[in-house]
């Protein structure tokens, strides 16, 4: 983890309100899938704090991308960046997805803008010989993100949309019904993560991991702003152990480590 200046080298627009920024880092990066960076988002009135973003695709050791939907002033600033613009990036931060010891049937579940941490995970799992399936959920067809990018890796991709305009009509987690899995890796809105957790508990599927989000100020563990309740607090910590930091102990937690 360290702060440094990175440079935009390419700007892609995979969906109407979504942007992928390919960035050049000053040195080789080797982040774990699921780790994230705090990106500076300008000097505006509402952009004092940097914003957390998972890295998405890895093009070379120095070239990573970020994928985001424009939802507020921070993402609006980032969406306005063009090749050669510079920004501050602090990272890589947090704890990413743990990889299995050997080949497994791995299922990735992404909702909304949940795909970023899963793309590189898919690649790593393939490298380990896993059989990888990705389930992508979104409101509607045009909001499904990452499908061609995941398919380019050679894995199976299934989709679900709320309005049925692409793939299954309904929550993406309903696709899990017919799928065998040894490991489950999920990133998306809270409701989706809760559904994944419930499935993990029911099957049971111990190797289920959730990438959480939380409001963050620092991203590197000093503000204690990103609290999530622990399911089993460490007795040695006393009351201090009630909450974990999403930015440091997470953002990836095993399904039974936290109360969401």
């Amino acid at each position: 983890m360290r702060p440094r200046e990175i440079r935009v080298v390419e700007r892609l627009q995979p969906a109407p309100d979504c942007v992928e920024l390919v960035c050049e880092f000053p040195e080789d990066e080797g982040p774990q899938s699921g780790q994230f960076y705090m990106l500076s988002v300008g000097d505006g009135r509402d952009t004092y704090l940097p914003r957390p973003f998972s890295f998405y695709r890895v093009f070379s050791p120095r070239r990573l991308s970020f994928l985001f939907r424009v939802v507020g002033p921070g993402t609006r600033f980032l969406a306005g960046l063009r090749p050669r613009d510079r920004l501050q990036a602090m990272g890589p931060l947090g704890r990413g997805f743990p990889l299995p010891d050997g080949p497994e049937r791995a299922v990735l579940v992404a909702g909304g803008v949940g795909v970023p941490p899963l793309w590189s995970l898919a690649r790593s799992l393939l490298g380990l010989g896993c059989e990888v399936t990705a389930l992508l959920g979104a409101r509607t067809r045009s909001a499904v993100l990452g499908r061609p990018e995941l398919e380019a890796l050679g894995i199976q991709v299934l989709t679900a949309t709320d309005d049925g305009s692409m793939g299954h009509r309904g929550p993406v987690t309903e696709l899990l019904g017919g799928i065998e899995a040894d490991g489950l890796y999920a990133c998306g809105p809270e409701g989706m993560l809760r559904a994944v957790r419930d499935i993990a508990a029911a099957r049971p599927l111990p190797r289920t991991y959730l990438a959480l989000e939380a409001a963050m100020a620092c991203g590197y563990g000093i503000c204690l702003g990103c609290a999530v309740e622990r399911a089993q607090p460490d007795p040695a910590l006393g009351a201090y152990g009630t909450y974990a930091r999403v930015c440091r102990e997470g953002p990836v937690f095993r399904w039974d480590e936290v109360r969401i």
Binding site: L49, A217, C223, L224, G225, A227, G238, T242
Partner: protein, 309 residues
């Protein structure tokens, strides 16, 4: 540039400290730079027993800053003494222990536990946290503030800094009571109470409702309080609030602060504290000062007059 800064009995190699709660106990910052570059560090509030802090959401973004309602989550005195303080002893910087409690006994117990421990340069009493029940109890009433400071004073000869709240009618009155009760210095300010509303969820953004404002938006509030404390009282003040550059630090010195502490800026720029040390040296030179001391209260003639008496 002579960067040494004296705050009463405390001597700092430079006037730039880290503010409490935005530095943890130094471990994360130490991954980024040498803590010995800092004049001093004010650690996250330490309570007698471990505290859980508040439930989420603890943080919100506001114009020119942020809201926080961490609620003083901390691992407690024992963990601090056994794990955190030994770590900080590796650095050549002044460690100020920020102390919190729910009641007088809570404060006194922590001060007792800290007193006599090697590597502790001073104590900062946080009587001004707006994010825990009773957190402001001791900061909004001069009698209670004075009583608490008096009790703590009996427990330790360490330099005692009292951190003031801006959420009062007259901060100077509280500061005077602390001084009379034996405080060595004041730090000003803690956060201003504020709120943000989440229109979609139809509730306050912050889980517990209100929270503390910090960041650049706080600077004008803090500068005025520092200015008033310096011109009306004879006790050194550490300026805190929205400092993010050497220029900001110089404004505080000129207003009458003897030193400053950097808070929220480290979220935006993790390297802010050492950067500000370097920038301040340049700013001082640019304004024709040869030493930090010379800039003191340069914009506060009443404070200068008071001191020269």
């Amino acid at each position: 540039m002579e960067m040494q800064a004296r705050v009463g009995r405390l001597l700092f190699k430079n006037p730039v400290l880290t503010a409490s709660g935005t530095f943890g106990y130094g471990r994360e910052a130490a991954e980024l730079y040498d803590l010995s570059l800092l004049g001093g560090v004010m650690v996250k509030g330490v309570s007698r027993d471990p505290w859980p802090g508040n439930g989420p959401i603890r943080i919100a973004r506001i114009p020119g800053g942020m809201l926080n309602a961490i609620g003083l989550q901390n691992p407690g005195l024992r963990h601090f003494l056994e794990v955190d303080l030994p770590f900080l002893r590796h650095y050549d910087t002044q460690v100020i222990v920020n102390v919190v409690g729910h009641d007088e006994a809570g404060f006194v117990d922590v001060v007792r536990g800290v007193h006599g421990q090697p590597g502790v340069a001073g104590i900062e009493l946080n009587i001004s946290c707006p994010n825990v029940a009773d957190g402001l109890l001791f900061s909004q009433d001069p009698d209670r503030a004075g009583r608490l400071v008096g009790l703590v004073r009996q427990e330790t000869s360490l330099p005692l800094i009292v951190k003031l709240s801006p959420n009062v009618t007259d901060p100077v009155e509280i500061g005077a009571a602390c001084q009379a009760a034996g405080a060595d210095a004041l730090s000003a300010i803690n956060t201003v109470i504020g709120m943000a509303i989440d229109v979609e969820r139809r509730r306050p953004v912050i889980g517990i409702g209100s929270a503390g404002i910090s960041g650049p938006a706080l600077k004008p509030v803090a500068l005025r309080i520092v200015y008033d404390l310096a011109r009306k009282l004879d006790i050194p003040v550490i300026g805190i609030g929205g400092i993010e550059s050497g220029r900001d630090a110089l404004e505080y010195l000129m207003a009458g602060a003897r030193a400053v502490a950097v808070g929220t800026a480290v979220f935006r720029d993790p390297l802010a504290p050492p950067r500000i040390v370097a920038e301040l040296a340049r700013e001082l030179a640019a304004q024709g000062f040869a030493a930090v001391d010379e800039a003191w209260a340069a914009a506060n003639p009443e404070a200068r007059r008071r001191q020269s008496r």
